[in-house]
């Protein structure tokens, strides 16, 4: 049953994602991409759970690598998006 709920969640979120991105002015395509890319860094949550788990050193090491990559994704993504939007804003 639980898996069905998760699949429901997945499908509804896909439709939501499709519906949201209909008319985006081209000016915002690049920031939108880097901004949504930062959101995909949410895998950091999964990485934290592996890096901090008590399941052995290898799980922690793999989790650590995942934390590093995901954090670069999150921090880099939000900061660079902000930088670009600031360039548009000063007009």
């Amino acid at each position: 049953m639980e898996i069905l709920l998760l699949i429901t969640l997945f499908v509804v979120a896909v439709f939501l994602g499709v519906e949201m991105i209909t008319k985006v002015p081209p000016t915002l395509h690049t920031p939108l991409m880097s901004g949504s890319n930062a959101i995909s860094g949410i895998s950091l949550v999964g990485a934290l759970l592996s890096a901090g788990s008590g399941a052995g050193i290898w799980v922690n090491v793999l989790g650590f690598i995942a934390v590093v990559l995901a954090t670069i994704n999150v921090v880099g993504g939000y900061m660079v998006t902000n930088r670009m939007l600031a360039m548009f804003k000063r007009k």
């Binding site: 969640l9 997945f10 979120a13 896909v14 939501l16 994602g17 499709v18 949201m20 991105i21 008319k23 002015p25 081209p26 000016t27 915002l28 395509h29 690049t30 920031p31 939108l32 991409m33 880097s34 901004g35 949504s36 890319n37 930062a38 959101i39 995909s40 860094g41 949410i42 950091l44 949550v45 999964g46 990485a47 934290l48 592996s50 901090g52 788990s53 008590g54 399941a55 793999l62 989790g63 690598i65 995942a66 934390v67 590093v68 990559l69 995901a70 954090t71 670069i72 994704n73 999150v74 921090v75 880099g76 900061m79 660079v80 670009m84 600031a86 360039m87 548009f88 804003k89 007009k91």
Partner: protein, 460 residues
């Protein structure tokens, strides 16, 4: 902290992501949208730290500090012209993170127990590894570490098909026999090679599509990661990014009149009868000089600048802005016509020109500028080719027929700044260059524009 509170916080985070993406689709709300989304990320990460399954924090602290420092340095140091590389790399890291989480969960005896988790692990490994290696090829092409031209791999389609089928086969084998650890290594290897071969044949001009697509993949990888442990925030946010990425990819494909399938498999449109370039250009191309063009610009009332891929390559955006200032000082109206795929990633040209402090109101979208070319005295095409080719409008047999183009040929005079008469990525000659109202200004984009500006200044 109880699981209920954690999951409620995840719900708040997911809602903030939705509001964030929504905000990013409108200029007025974009900054706020990005902040809301960052707040959502902060909440999701902080509550996860209170999860009772986390027993130690050494690896976490080390990883966050290291990743945070690298991410911050990258985001502040990167040149705006290199933005596509940056996004390509971030996509790769996102996919890589999902790949390593899947591997960690596979090794964790308490995690990879039931079939759903194993299927999700296999799927995450495939998508994550393809995103990782594919993004690095895209990065290498954009950074010009390897040739940006399409690289032909013999039997590409068959090879990719075999790799994909092997990956799925290995995935099934892993689900059936999770104790055999060699299978997952093989899956990682096959998927990495698949990602490599998918992007290698794709040419530099198709990069906007590839980056949009890899962005979507990194989201889907995060979503499948969520299925491993039943993590709701991963599933919702990952699928949001995955879906919005696909839509953006479609917008790009439409703007280039290419099907997603063809871009993915590196298929170029087959030109029925090859148009002979010599026949198109023979004796009809008029070459010009900066001085001559400057004289035209002196009397022009309305000038439209058409920037393309080549302008980004020559990093000529500041030089163009300078030219525009000189013209405006003389009372000429200057506008920029922006094709949807101008630059090296979706919307890249807008960002490049914004960095050069071109006023936002002067950037005009294709549909709006096209009817205005007839009232334009001079159209200056810099580093754009296929998106101005009238064959897309007139020649039904042409491979690019139907592609939306900028109707620069309707302007009174067209000045094309270009190194040579070499074709664009579609490999076609451009009859625009041979029109009676066309002048070719041969040379490096930046240098030509600087000389032109100089000549115009001296005219006073």
């Amino acid at each position: 902290m109880s699981m209920t509170i954690i999951y409620l916080a995840y719900l708040v985070a997911a809602s903030l992501f939705i509001l964030g993406i929504k905000g990013l689709t409108k200029p007025r709300t974009a900054v706020r949208g990005n902040q809301l989304s960052a707040l959502g990320m902060f909440i999701a990460v902080v509550v996860t730290l209170f999860d009772q399954n986390i027993l130690s924090y050494e690896w976490i602290i080390a990883g966050v500090l290291l990743g945070g420092a690298i991410g911050a340095v990258m985001a502040t140091k990167i040149q705006v012209t290199s933005m596509p590389q940056m996004v390509a790399m971030l996509n790769g890291f996102g996919g890589g993170a999902s790949l390593f989480i899947a591997l960690a969960n596979f090794l964790d005896p308490s995690s990879a127990t039931h079939t759903v988790a194993l299927i999700s692990i296999a799927a995450t490994v495939i998508i994550g590894a393809v995103t990782l290696s594919g993004s690095f090829v895209a990065f290498a092409k954009l950074q010009e570490l390897i040739s940006g031209n399409p690289i032909k791999v013999p039997g590409n389609k068959i090879l990719n098909g075999i790799l994909l089928i092997s990956a799925i086969g290995l995935g099934i084998a892993i689900v059936l026999d999770p104790s055999n650890i060699n299978l997952i290594y093989a899956l990682v290897a096959v998927s990495l090679v698949l990602g490599l071969l998918l992007v290698v044949p794709i040419g530099g001009a198709d990069m906007p599509v590839v980056i949009a697509l890899l962005n979507s993949y990194s989201g889907i990888a995060a979503a499948t990661t969520g299925f491993i442990t039943g993590n709701t925030v991963l599933i919702v946010s990952g699928s949001l990014v995955g879906a919005s990425g696909i839509i953006l990819t479609q917008i790009m494909c439409k703007a280039m009149n290419r099907s997603l399938f063809n871009v993915l498999f590196g298929v170029m449109a087959e030109g029925g009868d090859t148009v002979d370039a010599d026949e198109v250009y023979a004796g009809k191309v008029t070459s010009s000089s900066p001085e001559e063009v400057a004289m035209l610009l002196e009397t022009a009332e309305r000038v439209v600048i058409v920037p393309g891929y080549g302008l980004a390559m020559a990093q000529a955006q500041h030089a163009v802005r300078e030219l525009a200032s000189v013209m405006e000082a003389r009372g000429t109206e200057v506008l920029y016509a922006i094709h949807p795929v101008a630059g090296r990633m979706p919307g890249h040209m807008n960002v490049l020109l914004a960095e050069a402090e071109v006023p936002y109101e002067q950037l005009i979208e294709m549909d709006e500028i096209n009817p205005q070319f007839e009232q334009t005295d001079v159209a200056i095409v810099i580093g754009a080719n296929d998106v101005t080719n009238p064959m897309a409008r007139e020649d039904k047999g042409s491979p690019i027929y139907g592609m939306p183009i900028l109707n620069v040929d309707k302007a009174k005079t067209v000045v094309v700044v270009k190194r040579s008469l070499s074709p664009g990525f579609a490999g076609l000659p451009n009859p625009l260059f041979a029109l009676d109202n066309s002048l070719m200004l041969f040379g490096d984009g930046k240098k030509a524009i600087v000389e032109l500006t100089q000549s115009l200044k001296e005219a006073d």
